[in-house]
């Protein structure tokens, strides 16, 4: 390794994944101190704010249950609006975490180890936010269990040809698998926390959830195997979940939805939005939790490069959407595509393109990729842009259907916005709680890539 590195030109030198001296012990002390510490006042302030938003959201969901979904802006022919936009948006956010934990693991990207834990946690929280919407938008959420194929007195089964049914399976599998992945990664860290904690309720919980992990070599062998298998399985899942979500649209006959480009288009958008969210959260975590030596400028740089690449792919997808509309010679599709960029909602289309394609081009500059202001600006833009993209796809395609007499300008209500902000509250509340009680960096994974952690090559079997 050393001799190879010397021969390489500077641009190809292995990146610095750590700044300053980091040892096995100091890593633990640095990362695992937080669960035992009283958080600063700023944490309480942030927590109060996010939990307030969350309470607002849940109150409005309760209000919706009481009054019925007439309190939302959805009206014929726009039957899907904020509910489905938010669902697609949040499921998408989750994808970055799975990509980082699964695909980048298979690619042996060593930089992923520092951010994997946080990104996986964000996946789980995002899917929790997403799962709220299909449940509340059915109107009678107390019978939402009808979505599941269970033997019932009515003697009927669910329709397995419906993409909505595929969605139920895809999202619930995604959540279960993400949770499994996250928990397996946590087990060794929980064992470290258990042995650092002397007594009390914390130790009780760490003991229970670390499942008496003791780092035996024979256990590590099975553990690594399981982790590798999970990564392989989750890789297929990253590609499948948002593809299935896109089938909800693509399998229908609505102009603007019925396109073969939808599955890859959705997956790209999901990873794009997810990375933007990861960058936003990581910047804050890195600053406030003083993790600059572990999450280095290089990490942020690489993630911003991925955002840039995804942004270019999004631009390509938008072009292809336009091309498909033109080439189809279908007057309905022509009409709807024109509605994306002109007409009542034309602003949303242009804002989508600006936020998702134009603004991220700033990331070609290395200075922007490494400046907080630059990357926060881009990431915020991407988050807004990706939300608006779903707005354009869903609302704009629906608001002028085949029957001009039922055309309708959709206007969201305050309740719609309240529930959207409520899910942001839920997400960040969970993120804050996570930072408070669990290790935000996977220490056992970081120890693997510490300089000098592995015996020199040539001895034993190298895997």
């Amino acid at each position: 390794m050393q001799s190879e590195a010397v021969l390489l030109p500077e641009a190809l030198q292995p990146p610095t994944l750590f700044e300053g001296p980091v040892t096995l012990g100091s890593l633990d002390d640095q990362v695992l101190q937080y669960p035992a510490r009283k958080p600063p006042a700023a944490w309480y302030l942030a927590f109060a704010f996010t939990s307030m938003l969350m309470t607002l959201g849940f109150s409005l969901i309760g209000y919706t249950f009481y009054m019925g979904i007439g309190v939302w802006g959805n009206t014929s022919p726009v039957f899907w609006a904020f509910d489905i936009i938010n669902f697609v948006f949040w499921v998408g956010i989750g994808h970055a975490g799975t990509l980082i934990s699964a695909i980048l693991l298979l690619f042996r990207s060593r930089w992923r180890n520092a951010i994997a834990r946080y990104a996986e946690a964000m996946t789980i929280f995002a899917v929790m936010c997403a799962a709220i919407f299909p449940l509340i938008h059915v109107g009678r959420p107390w019978v939402a269990f009808w979505l599941l194929p269970y033997p019932n007195q009515r003697g009927i089964w669910t329709n397995f040809r419906s993409p909505l049914m595929w969605d139920v399976f895809a999202v619930s599998t995604y959540f279960s698998v993400s949770l499994m992945f996250w928990y397996l990664g946590l087990v060794p860290d929980l064992a470290s926390l258990r042995d650092r904690t002397q007594s009390g309720i914390r130790r009780f919980f760490y003991t229970v959830f670390s499942l008496s992990w003791r780092g035996a070599a024979s256990h590590w062998q099975q553990y690594e195997k399981a982790y590798l298998l999970l990564a392989g399985l989750a890789t297929g899942l990253v590609l499948s979940v948002h593809s299935v979500v896109s089938f909800d649209f693509a399998v229908s006959l609505v102009p603007g939805w019925h396109m073969t480009i939808f599955p890859p288009y959705f997956v790209t958008g999901a990873i794009f939005a997810g990375f933007a969210m990861v960058v936003m959260v990581l910047v804050v975590v890195r600053e406030t939790m003083d993790l600059k030596n572990l999450i280095t400028a290089y990490h942020l740089d690489v993630m911003n490069k991925i955002i840039l690449a995804m942004s270019c792919l999004m631009g390509y997808a938008y072009l292809m959407e336009g091309f498909t509309a033109w080439y189809s010679m279908d007057q309905y599709l022509h009409h709807i595509f024109l509605q994306y960029i002109s007409g009542t909602y034309g602003w949303a289309g242009w804002l989508t393109i600006s936020c998702n394609v134009l603004i991220p081009q700033l990331l070609w500059s290395r200075r922007v990729r490494r400046s907080y202001i630059g990357m926060l600006f881009v990431s915020l833009g991407v988050t807004v842009g990706m939300w608006l993209e779903r707005f354009v796809i869903i609302v704009v395609s629906l608001h002028q259907d085949y029957l001009p007499s039922s055309w309708h300008i959709y206007k969201p209500t305050l309740v719609d916005f309240g529930i959207l902000f409520g899910t942001f509250g839920l997400f960040f509340t969970l993120v804050l709680l996570f930072a408070r009680v669990l290790p935000v960096i996977a220490t056992s994974e970081m120890k693997v890539i510490l300089p000098g952690a592995q015996p020199a090559h040539g001895r034993g079997r190298h895997e």
């Binding site: 012990g25 249950f65 499942l211 008496s212 089938f247």
Partner: protein
């Protein structure tokens, strides 16, 4: 076994030193040699002579089982148990079942990988493991590398094990006795009690949820909207009644006003229906449904309900009634007579006249003339 020694464990400062120490320690064949490390160390599997993990095969099998399960259930549910045509496709069109097959495959495989690794392969949790209460545990989950010689079958030669580890360069040697006064046992008891208590609480709560849930009215405001309910007051009208009399002069659809007051007046009414087979058939059906219960199937006034019925229904075969013109019989059906109520609301005009025809048929059948037999 219980008062013996489980293992002797020593610590190393780096993975390099640990890896170098393993071969000489193993060579002494004192017991099972196990390493405890804070992270997976490359090359340690071979050094310890660990066998290949069978996990991949298990996961493959579970994944295939998932695919087959999903395919089987979707086929059975949509093509066998509840066959329903969707979108004009064949009942069993496997292409549509692929997404769910994929998801179930991943689900089965993932849970086999994760839970199989923890519970089957590694036999976790084992809260009573002697290492967990040792001094070494805090070091090996942090930054030290432990090497242990563990008793395998027969009692461990503690002194020899200590020497072996010390010679290999291990420090902080520690003898781990088998757990007797198990702190973890108390812990397990407490956990079990906690789980039991939670189950009791959750079960009790669930009992009430299941008991109450079906009878709680759902929040459906469709039911609260202003509307007329039968037999209920209503704010729609000044008199507060939900049910109102029709406006004067209202003609009920399909029911012409019947202005004749007496049976004598009705004598002049002529039966508008022809005496044809379908009409007689209809008359017979209506008669058997509505009239026969009192007047009897043959019109003899000996009904099926005689014993329970105080009044005596008219004998339609009596001479008086045989002498009635059609209009008089029709009038009785319209207005009722003695204990008989009106059937104006139950029968349409056509049905009423058809019944009149049928009554004539019954009368003729019971009082046949000679020429009827020729």
């Amino acid at each position: 076994m219980s008062d013996g020694v489980f293992a002797v464990v020593g610590l190393f400062d780096s993975a390099e030193e640990l890896l170098q120490a393993i071969p000489p320690v193993r060579a002494r064949k004192l017991g099972r040699v196990e390493a405890y490390t804070p992270y997976p160390v490359h090359g340690i599997d071979a050094a310890l002579g660990l066998r290949r993990s069978p996990l991949a095969g298990m996961v493959l099998a579970a994944g295939m089982l998932g695919a087959v399960t999903a395919l089987f259930f979707q086929w059975w549910m949509t093509a066998v148990d509840y066959p329903i045509v969707v979108g004009g496709k064949a009942l069993f069109s496997w292409q549509a079942f692929v997404p769910i097959m994929f998801e179930v495959t991943v689900l089965f495989a993932t849970f086999t990988a994760g839970l199989g690794m923890l519970f089957l392969m590694n036999r976790l949790p084992f809260f009573g493991h002697p290492l967990l209460t040792s001094k070494a545990i805090a070091a090996v989950t942090r930054d030290k590398f432990g090497l242990a010689i563990e008793a395998e079958g027969e009692a461990l030669d503690v002194e020899a094990a200590k020497t072996a580890l010390a010679t290999a360069g291990a420090t902080a040697l520690e003898v781990l006795p088998f757990q007797r006064e198990l702190a973890p046992l108390q812990f397990m008891t407490r956990t079990a009690m906690g789980i039991f208590a939670s189950c009791v609480v959750a079960g009790y709560a669930m009992y009430w949820v299941i008991k109450l849930f079906p009878v709680l009215p759902p929040m459906v405001h469709m039911e609260d909207q202003p509307k007329l309910n039968p037999q209920k007051a209503s704010a729609f009208f000044k008199d507060g009644h939900g049910m109102q009399l029709p406006v004067d002069g209202t003609v009920v659809r399909g029911h012409l006003p019947y202005l004749i007051a007496t049976q004598e007046e009705a004598a002049g009414l002529a039966n508008p229906l022809p005496r044809t087979q379908p009409v007689l058939q209809e008359g017979r059906t209506v008669y058997n449904q509505h009239c026969a219960v009192c007047h009897g199937l043959l019109g003899t006034g000996t009904p099926t309900l005689t014993s329970a019925y105080g009044a005596k229904p008219a004998n339609l075969q009596a001479q008086t009634i045989r002498d009635y013109p059609d209009g008089k019989i029709y009038h009785v059906i319209m207005k009722g007579k003695n204990a008989m109520p009106s059937y104006a609301a139950d029968l349409t005009e056509e049905e009423r006249w058809a019944v009149v025809h049928y009554v004539r048929v019954l009368q003729r059948a019971q009082n046949a003339r000679d020429e009827d037999f020729q």
